[in-house]
Every structure is written in C-alpha cells, then in structure tokens.
C-alpha cells in the first residue's frame, strides 16, 4: 500500500510544488495522477522514486517510510519499483535483449536467471521476435514496451509510469495502456502520471486530479461514470471508423472529457 499523508514539497527557490497532499493507493490498484504542467504530479513521482526529499508529511510505500529511509537503503527500495518514462530512456548501444537484461545485471542477478527471465518478459510485452534489434530500429510503441519489460524484469511491487504515452500516437498509446492494465491484473500496483484526458477516459480507472500542488479530486467512482459516457464515445468511434488516429483522439476528447478546465 502507498500512503501519502499531508505531504508538502518546497524547492529551495521557495517554489511550493506540493501543498498538503494526501493520497492512498491500495495494493494492486491502477491509478492515474493527472494534471497540467506544474500541478505537482511529477513531484509526487520523484518523491515516490526517492529522487527528492519531502519537506513535510509522510510517505509510506509497502511499510517503508521514505522520510526515514537511509540513503544506503534507497537502491534496495528502488528494486521494488519499476519505472517507465516518457522518453523511454533505453541504452541505444544495446539491443532489446541487452536493454532488458541490463536491469537484472545491475542488481546482481545470475546469468542463468537472466537467460531464463528476459525471453519470458519479452514474450509478455510482445517483442520476442525483435530481441536483437536496437532501439533506433524500433517504433516508439515498441521502445516503450522495451522500457516496460525492463521496469518489470525484477518483479517490482509497484510500477510508476511518468507520461508513458507522451511520445506515442493514440493507437500505440492505447496499446501501452492495455499492456499496463494486463500487468496490473497480474497484481502489480500501477501509478500512471499523465496529462492525457483521452487515455484516462478510455481506461476507466481511479483518477487523482491535481492543480497547483493540491489534489482537487480523487475520482475513484469515475470509472463507472466514465464507462457510461464511454459507451457514447464507442458508438461515435464506430461511426468514425476508418478515420485516422488524430481525428479519433480529437473526437474522444471532445465527447468524454470531464477534466477540461
């Protein structure tokens, strides 16, 4: 379970990034943290990653109090998290297999375990056939799949994704979200930081909306409400079948966006 209680984060320049934020995420949940640039969503991501220290409040991840965590324990803690970024952050001089194996190698896994686990993981993300390819030979969606495989290879309890679909077209974005959903169904807690209304609307998951460092809504029930709205979208999409992705994206945003300011 992830408990973020009354967390404030103030950067040295006096900029208050988070103001008294309280969020609880149960084990196995799929949560979107949504907001505009500067809303504080990435700060939450960084605090959860233990990349930044909180100014006040408390963050507990699976019984580990991050505020009291010694620096020496941070690597061990991070092994229990999987991280996915918008820009994939792959090693361009290594192929798909090596990129995924890299995550196991740096935590000291044995060669035998690497040989067993990497092909399994690549099969799960649908990249078995492309294991010898280098990042520049892959599409954006495929690169993000490699990043997800790398994030999951050490079997983390929580997967954190910072704008995982930010660099993808809507088709690939939905493919990635489906993959994250499958991962969540296998028991991994998934937290996705995004500003994409389209994705959030389609996924029917819990959405925490942030603005200027505060949580302005935590819509656990949104999934149900949105599901009803999404039915309309679905009909609309069917009518628009054959149109390109951009048009589809636009239509969904117009039809089902409840987060438009």
């Amino acid at each position: 379970m992830i408990e973020i209680s009354n967390v404030c984060k103030e950067y040295s320049e006096g900029n208050k990034a988070l103001k008294n934020v309280t969020i609880t995420v149960e084990d196995g949940e799929f949560v979107f943290i949504m907001g505009r640039n500067g809303s504080g969503k990435t700060t939450i991501f960084k605090l959860l990653m233990k990349e930044e220290e909180l100014t006040s409040g408390k963050i507990v991840v699976n019984d580990m109090n991050l505020g009291k965590m010694p620096r020496s324990y941070v690597p061990k803690y991070r092994r229990r998290l999987g991280v996915v970024f918008q820009d994939f952050r792959l090693l361009n001089d290594r192929n798909v297999y090596e990129n995924v194996a890299f995550a196991m190698r740096v935590v000291g896994a044995s060669s035998r375990r690497i040989r067993e686990s990497v092909p399994e993981m690549l099969q799960m993300v649908g990249l078995s056939a492309k294991y010898k390819m280098f990042p520049h030979q892959l599409s954006g969606g495929e690169q993000q799949r490699v990043a997800i495989a790398r994030a999951l290879i050490n079997r983390p309890e929580v997967l954190l994704a910072d704008e995982p679909t930010g660099n993808l077209d809507s088709h690939n974005a939905m493919e990635i979200m489906k993959l994250l959903e499958e991962i969540n169904e296998m028991g991994t807690t998934v937290i996705v930081v995004t500003h994409s209304h389209e994705i959030v609307e389609k996924m029917h998951k819990r959405v925490i909306r942030m603005e200027r460092g505060c949580v302005i809504s935590d819509e656990t029930e949104y999934a149900d409400e949105a599901a009803a709205e999404d039915e309309d979208d679905f009909e609309y999409e069917e009518e628009e079948a054959g149109d390109d992705d951009e048009e589809e994206t636009g239509s969904v945003a117009e039809g089902g966006n409840i987060y438009e300011d």
């Binding site: 990653m49 233990k50 991070r78 952050r89 995550a103 740096v106 935590v107 000291g108 050490n154």
Partner: protein, 302 residues
C-alpha cells in the same frame, strides 16, 4: 559480487577506456613517466645504499688505547663498545698482531731490519679494535662517544666517504620524492579528467542504473576498473623499459667509466627487480584506484 557481475564490470571498464582512448592514453603516459622516474630513482638509491653498505662493511673505525692499559682493561673497554647498538662487528688487533702486519707490509725483503726490533716491539702500545657499524650515518656521533671514553687514545676513521655517500643518498631521495610527488599530482589530475569524461559519456546509463536500483558500488565499479587498468598499464610499461635499460646502463657505465667499476659495484637487476616491480605495480594500482574512486563520488547522487 557474482563472477558474472565482476566480468560485466571489467567489460564495461574496458569499454570506458576505448570510448575515451586519447584521454586514457594520456593518463597511461603520465603514470608511466611518473613510475619510470620512480624506478630510476629506486635503482639509483638501492645501488648507492649497496655501496654505502660495502663501505660500512669494509671501512671501519679503529680505536687505539692508552699505552699503560693492561690487556684486561682494553678487553673491558672493548666489551663496553661491543654492547652499543650501532656496532655491527668488531675485531681486536693486539700489539703483536699489529707488528706482524707491519712487518709484512713494510719490511718485506728487509727482514734483517725487522729482526732488530724483535726484542722491543715498536707496536706494543698499538692494541686496537676495528669497529664496523650498522649505519654509516651514525658514524660521527659514535666516534664522538668513543673519543670520550676513558682509556681511548685515538680514533681513526674516514669521515669523507661516509658523509659523501649518505648525503648523496639523501639528495637523491629528496629529489625523487619531489619529482614523483609532482608527477603523481599530474597523474591524479589526468585520471580525474578521464574518469569525469567517461562519467559524462555514461551519465544516461548511470541515471538508468540508479532508477533500477543499482548500488553505488555497482555504478562505481566500471570506473574503478577503468582507473585500475590505466594505473596498471602505467606501471607495466615503465617496468618493461627499466628491465631493458638497467642492463644497458650498467654495461655503459662499466665500459665508459672503468675507474668506477673498482669502487662502484652495481646490484644485479634480478635482486632489485622483484621489489621494484611490486612497488611500481602497487603505485600504479593505488593511483588508478584512488583517483577513480574519489572522482566518481560526485557522480553518485542517489
């Protein structure tokens, strides 16, 4: 650390060197220069010490006693001197022995002249101890002690040889420490630059490693491997040079300065090379290890 992880780090370290080949070569060259000078001074110092030791064991201090002292009194003073820590060995020469030596040296062919002194040994009051010291640098102080002993008439010793050699050795030592110190600083600076460059190249990779949960040791290892390889290469190259040059230098000095060969005996390379090689390798390893270890610290923010 697993063997596979160890080899992975070694491989990455070698890759780092290849990525920055010119900087790495510059570092190797500077360390080589530093260690070459170290080897050169090491050889000179060891050889000078060897000569000093030869002088110590061949040039002794001779102590003569008052003529009215009995054999027992001379023996007692001798025992007192022999207990001093500076004394390596001592030999007693009685008045009769001294006369025998004198006869052999100065009366060869004039035995009838020597026979005139048979009844009256001119060296009767010349009983002496010849003393050899452990360390020639303590000679002056020791001679002073002897001269103040009751019953000691005269102390003969050679001050110039000992003082000259010990001061030469000190100058060589100080000079080598100074030059090696400057070169060490340059080597550390260059390794520092090389590692910083590599860290910049690997910034992206290190960042990913941190997110994945790599420990500082794991992130640091390839850089330390890089530093250690540079350091060891910087030691092996000058050692190879020294191995070749030492023989050449001995041959040259003995051929060109034959006058020296009588007083200056070079140590064979085989007797000094193991120590020189071990010290040079440790020096190279140390420079590489510590320079890389401390340089990479600032790149390890978790």
């Amino acid at each position: 650390m697993r063997i596979s992880t160890f080899w992975y780090c070694v491989k990455q370290g070698i890759k780092n060197i290849c990525r920055n080949i010119w900087f790495s070569l510059a570092s190797v060259a500077t360390i080589s220069a530093c260690i070459f000078l170290f080897c050169m001074f090491f050889s000179i110092m060891v050889n000078v010490r060897h000569v000093v030791h030869l002088v110590e064991t061949t040039v002794g201090i001779t102590v003569f006693f008052d003529e009215d002292l009995t054999q027992t009194q001379i023996q007692a003073i001798g025992d007192q001197i022999g207990r001093r820590p500076e004394v390596a060995s001592m030999e007693f020469t009685s008045g009769d022995d001294a006369w025998e030596i004198m006869k052999e040296e100065y009366f060869e062919g004039f035995e009838e002249l020597a026979a005139g002194f048979e009844e009256d040994n001119p060296m009767a009051g010349s009983s002496s101890y010849q003393i050899f010291l452990n360390d020639l640098s303590k000679q002056e102080k020791f001679v002073n002690y002897l001269e103040n002993l009751e019953g000691v008439r005269r102390v003969n010793y050679s001050s110039s040889a000992a003082a000259g050699l010990t001061s030469f050795n000190t100058v060589v030592g100080l000079l080598s420490v100074l030059i090696i110190g400057v070169l060490l600083a340059v080597s550390v600076f260059l390794i520092n630059n090389t590692i910083n460059m590599t860290a910049e190249f690997r910034k992206h990779e290190n960042q990913i490693m941190r997110y994945i949960g790599a420990t500082n040791g794991m992130i640091r290892a390839p850089f330390v491997v890089e530093g250690v390889i540079i350091g060891l290469l910087g030691a092996v190259i000058p050692l190879c040079f020294m191995f070749y040059l030492y023989h050449q230098a001995i041959g040259y000095v003995q051929e060109k300065f034959q006058i020296l060969s009588g007083i200056f005996q070079f140590l064979p390379l085989e007797s000094i090379f193991p120590y020189m090689a071990a010290t040079a390798m440790l020096l190279g390893l140390g420079i590489g290890f510590f320079a890389s270890f401390f340089t990479i610290r600032k790149h390890l923010r978790v």
